[in-house]
Symmetry: none
Subunit: 280 residues, 2 copies
């Protein structure tokens, strides 16, 4: 990724940004307590991986109802970790999230709204600003996950690449944000993520899925079996720890619940209607 | 243990089993949230081992009242871990648990009722089915404890072998399920467990005790001092981690509270009255 000056790598808004940024009124450093089902998952600790299907079963997200575990984490013998999080989002539509993923990646001040206590920096790898889309683009992010500041690459892919049926998503008014994630500066993509957003009474709910390490590791641009073998050898050397999985669970639960609380207002202010106005 | 085909090693009931099994209406995949005192113990984390007496003090279970720690875990300098769990069981009698321990070990479909999210397989080492007793028998179980699927041997022993007074138990209407536990395929028995069930107003309460690793390790069939030395050397090489103790605490708290909620109904359906009928 393009190198970022260390002085740009700070949490939160500066006093100057708080005064001048167009987004400042949405920068809300107070975060709500963890939801009851998230607390339960954290106290329960790592669960049987059989309760948390692998990414090859992502298509099951199309089924109605819920999986055996919607919020929880597990570690597997191949060194991988699985983290699932359910986030209820009253008043939010799937389209708002589709917009958000295209919009947030162009400016750190936008990205920081999402997790004011962990998000540090963001930029598109293509060097461009807003293009109104995220699929096919790579987002370079700097964020804390637990105590570790990480430089990550999020390469957004089409839902079909993750095993989802795009026509079915559209037909049911659902959105699935899908990506391959990696550690910046390494030749490996280490995981998959899916945020599946579906309409429910009064709003929507997000079902986040992370599959990291182990069988999910591939050298970049080497998607086949050979890449899989190389990835699995590499990842066995550094198995994911349960604590890392629980930190990812906390991070995801926090950022999704936090943004959902004001996403409708943000969308009304900076979303398609606003962008349309600006073009006129 | 007799080898089990990998295809038999799955969590839960299959759709076919749900339709045909005589026990299917007792297979309840939803588990209640962890009880308040269990949450407190998990958040508190490992405590001073002095609050959790060793197995040599098991006889103190006969005393009225409660121990300094009834729910909690600790790790000791000898590499051992201690895990205690108190489970209130309204409507349950100690005799029901005595029946359960003899009954559940003959079929995986019975065993899975107990912990629908962690229990995988069970079978008696003697190859027999129901004998109406468990003391003197070895149960081979496959279960997840936290994220790890384990093959364990549970060798049930008389309460007197664990230091309890059998006459006193009978006189007070109490039951104590006592066993030596081990990892299948190893020459060591690694721990002790006691589930002490005593009547209380409105039902009973179970006081579970696990002493694992360290001084509790013995080569199988070598109960004396020499066995103790060998065990303690072996176990020092792989000290129990606090996370393993907390996973065991969660597992025990979940399974005991889960089964207790329908044990009276299960006992009425498949217990001694039913078994008597079948014999007539």
């Amino acid at each position: 990724m393009p190198s970022i000056a260390e002085k740009e790598l700070y949490l939160g808004y500066t006093p100057d940004e708080l005064e001048r940024s167009a987004y400042a009124r949405f920068f809300r450093p107070q975060m709500a307590p963890l939801a009851g089902h998230v607390r339960e998952a954290l106290l329960t600790g790592a669960i049987a991986h059989e309760l948390m299907p692998p990414v090859s079963r992502a298509g099951d997200l199309h089924h109605p109802g819920y999986w055996a575990a919607e919020t929880g984490y597990s570690t597997c013998l191949d060194g991988s970790a699985r983290v699932f999080v359910l986030t209820p989002m009253p008043g939010v539509t799937p389209a708002m999230w589709d917009w958000w993923f295209a919009w947030h990646g162009s400016e750190a001040q936008r990205y920081k709204l999402w997790h004011p206590r962990a998000h540090v920096h963001v930029g598109w790898a293509d060097g461009e600003g807003d293009l109104g889309r995220y699929v096919g683009r790579i987002s370079n992010v700097v964020e804390f996950v637990g105590p570790a500041r990480m430089n990550l690459t999020i390469r957004f892919v089409r839902p079909s690449e993750a095993g989802l049926d795009e026509k079915r998503l559209v037909a049911s008014g659902e959105v699935a944000i899908c990506a391959r994630g990696g550690i910046a500066g390494t030749p490996m993509e280490t995981g998959w993520l899916i945020h599946h957003v579906r309409p429910v009474e009064g709003g929507s709910e997000m079902r986040s899925r992370f599959w990291v390490g182990g069988e999910n590791v591939r050298p970049r641009s080497m998607p086949g079996a050979v890449g899989g073998v190389i990835g699995s050898i590499a990842s066995r050397l550094v198995p994911l720890k349960a604590i890392q999985a629980s930190e990812l669970l906390v991070h995801c639960a926090q950022e999704m619940a936090h943004l959902a609380a004001f996403l409708p207002e943000l969308y009304a202010t900076f979303g398609p209607a606003h962008q349309q106005e600006n073009r006129e």
